[in-house]
């Protein structure tokens, strides 16, 4: 793993194919970082530029359990199961994004901001159960 120097330049000895891969990895990491930054900016009422990807998340006043629930948000976005302690083990946005891409081979699609919880007061049915407005 090269988490500690993930922001360093690609090594000169990499062959062409590796370069291409490195490039798509960099894009993936960037995508994830941007998503987390935007998510936090929204949740913490901060401006996105004020959130630094190299800073530990605890710097922004998050509790240990907050970090765990943010992983929950990331799971919803990426559609994969993640270790709930991801942000404990990789406590900056940069480290977490790098880990996801390099170790878990996650390749996010375009950044979609998460849909808000749908809340329509209509009676809906899911399977055989009425959800009284609480279905997808």
């Amino acid at each position: 793993m090269q988490l500690q120097n993930s922001s360093s330049k690609p090594s000169d000895v990499l062959v062409q194919a590796d370069l291409a891969q490195e490039n798509s990895e960099a894009i993936a990491i960037e995508t994830i970082q941007t998503w987390i930054v935007n998510q936090l900016a929204k949740q913490l009422s901060l401006s996105a530029p004020s959130i630094k990807v190299e800073e530990p998340l605890t710097r922004y006043g998050l509790d240990s359990i907050d970090s765990v629930t943010i992983v929950g948000d990331m799971e919803d976005w990426l559609g994969v199961d993640l270790p709930s302690t991801l942000l404990w083990d990789y406590p900056t946005i940069q480290k977490a994004a790098t880990y996801l891409v390099q170790e878990m081979n996650i390749a996010p699609g375009a950044i979609a901001s998460e849909p808000e919880t749908p809340v329509q007061p209509t009676k809906e049915t899911v399977g055989k159960w009425s959800l009284w407005g609480r279905g997808k």
């Binding site: 949740q43 006043g61 992983v71 709930s84 406590p91 919880t117 159960w129």
Partner: protein
């Protein structure tokens, strides 16, 4: 366990509790083990209940804290809750001192085979006891701020610092210590150690003086101090840095189980007060025949039944959905302990002056129950800490709920069926499935619509139409309150960290109350055929739901309160037959004072029905 007697409860997970009851005997008889007279005397002396604990070890109750796959007899949290109630209705000091054994679940959850074997042997062969050393004087609930350090040295660690206030810190052979192994590692800065004191250099650790407390006065409340205390590497549980994770998961187990302490205390508070009201004559009738005290006791009985549904549901839920316990455990620890604390206060009004006296009426047990019980909502994660952890998950609960689909509803229905059907076996508890965060799942409230469908499918004639109508209407009202809360959260600002608004705490409390209401409905739906006529009839459920909804939203337009006289009669029946005040009214030790005029009165009241 001995083979069952004919009179034993049909649900075999209650046999152990019944057997323990029988062997302990009537607590009103001064000759019984843990009799009220004895435990009051110990309390006055602030003496550690040594003989009582030895009796429990001789009875081999400690085997029921060790899972069968680790060489013990533990199979079911439902059974566990029942026997802790049996101890707790006699004496919380003994019950809590003995039950520090439940910290062993840290090892059953995270230990190596060798560590498990070692601990099981320590418990079984040496009648070993343990304590939990997390808290520090300067840091309270803020575990990550702890100053106790474990510094790596060849072959192990050096412990330094002080843990306080710790129950059984002095009188225990094993202590689970949370200590800092890497100050820079944030949530990974702590590690957990299972420290066997016998293997330490006695010069490197010491115990702190006994702390005098308001209740559980005989407890060994003290602390422990380490000074360059060497502990070998093999005492570490799990990897370095997983201390907070293990601590939080371990709390999920013990916090929910703490509710059983309150349930035992609540039984005694109600039983001794009922006894008083039946024996005391005022204005030419018994106090129980005066409407206000009668209503107060019936409401107290309802509180107990409600808490039963929440806590027995959780006890079984551990085996079915351990991954949801970041939610269930917080709900139960908050709701049951606080509800029953309030219940004890309510009935104290009926006991009147005697509640304040230390020798009158059943040896003065009431005031002891009240003092002892007051700590349950505080230790092992206070009400505030539990509500806080719920608040942090609340947004996800709403999000998950909004996303349920046919498949997930089907799965919830299946799990609820196993969780709440008491005559069905539960899977073996799998502690490795505990999660820091339920990812938004809470079957109890998320299965409310399932319960509503099931209610609509029920047919009178076996039910009184008025009762069934109320149950349905009130369940709809519970759902409406939940929907309103979820809607509100969709629009409210996100809150994080430790600056949650007081309003969020109020919302979290309501969530807990709604969860308890839903647990009552599930419990009833799944056990109508097995828990007897009183339970099946559902009147208690309608009254309970109404009681809970009034607490959630006093402005609601609810159906009128049903006649509660059948509850008063059931309360008298359980009292007269010496049965636990519970949805599972298992047999208690028979009260031996046959010539007691109060029992005669109960008999008469029952005959008059």
């Amino acid at each position: 366990m001995h083979p069952p007697e004919r009179s034993m409860h049909p649900l075999k997970q209650y046999w152990l509790a019944e057997e323990l009851e029988r062997d302990l005997g009537d607590p009103c008889n001064p000759e019984s083990v843990m009799s009220f007279k004895q435990v009051i005397e110990l309390d006055e002396l602030e003496a550690f209940p040594e003989a009582e604990l030895t009796w429990l070890y001789n009875w081999k109750l400690h085997h029921y804290y060790i899972p069968t796959n680790c060489g013990g007899e533990f199979t079911s949290f439902e059974e566990f809750i029942a026997f802790v109630r049996v101890m707790s209705r006699r004496d919380l000091t003994t019950s809590i001192s003995f039950t520090t054994l439940f910290w062993s679940f840290l090892t059953w959850m995270a230990g190596t085979d060798e560590q498990k074997q070692e601990l099981a042997q320590f418990m079984k062969d040496m009648s070993g006891a343990m304590c939990l050393s997390y808290s520090e004087r300067a840091h309270g609930s803020d575990l990550l701020a702890g100053d106790v350090t474990a510094t790596k040295v060849p072959g192990g660690y050096l412990l330094n610092g002080e843990k306080w206030p710790i129950n059984r810190a002095t009188i225990s052979g094993v202590t689970f210590v949370l200590a800092k192994t890497d100050a820079e590692a944030g949530s990974r800065s702590l590690s957990l150690f299972m420290v066997k004191k016998a293997e330490l250099d006695p010069a490197t650790y010491s115990n702190l003086p006994k702390i005098k407390t308001h209740g559980i006065r005989g407890s060994d409340m003290s602390g422990i101090r380490f000074d360059d205390c060497f502990i070998p590497e093999k005492m570490r549980l799990g990897k370095e840095g997983v201390g907070l994770e293990l601590a939080l998961k371990g709390f999920q187990i013990t916090r929910a189980l703490c509710a059983a302490f309150s349930q035992g205390a609540a039984d005694t508070a109600l039983r001794t007060t009922l006894k008083f009201t039946l024996g005391r004559q005022l204005y030419g009738k018994t106090v129980f025949d005066i409407p206000h005290p009668r209503r107060t006791l019936v409401d107290a009985f309802l509180d107990i039944l409600i808490c039963d549904c929440a806590n027995i549901g959780a006890g079984r839920g551990f085996h079915v959905v351990p991954e949801q316990f970041s939610v269930w455990s917080a709900v139960v620890k908050y709701f049951v302990t606080v509800t029953l604390e309030k219940m004890v206060q309510d009935v104290s009004v009926v006991l009147g002056a005697r509640y304040y006296m230390r020798e009158e009426h059943d040896f003065g047990i009431f005031q002891k129950v009240m003092r002892d019980n007051a700590i349950i909502s505080v230790f092992d994660g206070s009400s505030i800490v539990n509500l806080h952890s719920l608040i942090l998950q609340r947004r996800h609960l709403a999000k998950f709920r909004a996303r349920r689909d046919a498949q997930s509803m089907e799965a919830i229905a299946t799990r609820l069926q196993t969780t709440f059907t008491l005559d069905q076996p539960v899977p073996q508890f799998a502690p490795e499935r505990l999660e820091l965060f339920s990812r938004g799942a809470d079957d109890v409230l998320q299965g409310l619509e399932i319960a509503l469908e099931q209610l609509q499918a029920l047919e009178p004639p076996d039910l009184e139409p008025e009762v069934l109508e109320q149950i349905e209407a009130l369940t709809h009202a519970v759902l409406a309150e939940l929907n309103a809360q979820d809607d509100f959260l969709g629009t409210a600002a996100f809150e994080h960290g430790h600056d949650q608004s007081p309003e969020s705490f109020e919302l979290a409390k309501k969530y807990c109350t709604l969860h308890a209401a839903a647990a009552c409905v599930h419990m009833w739906l799944h056990n109508r055929k097995t828990l007897g006529e009183f339970f099946a009839n559902g009147r208690w459920l309608a009254l309970s739901l109404r009681r809970l909804l009034v607490a959630v939203n006093p402005a609601l337009d609810l159906p009128p309160r049903l006649d509660d006289e059948p509850l008063a009669q059931e309360l008298l029946r359980l009292y007269g037959e010496d049965r636990m005040f519970s949805i599972v009214p298992f047999q208690l030790a028979k009260s031996e004072v046959q010539e007691n005029p109060i029992h005669a009165i109960t008999e008469l009241q029952l005959q008059a029905q």
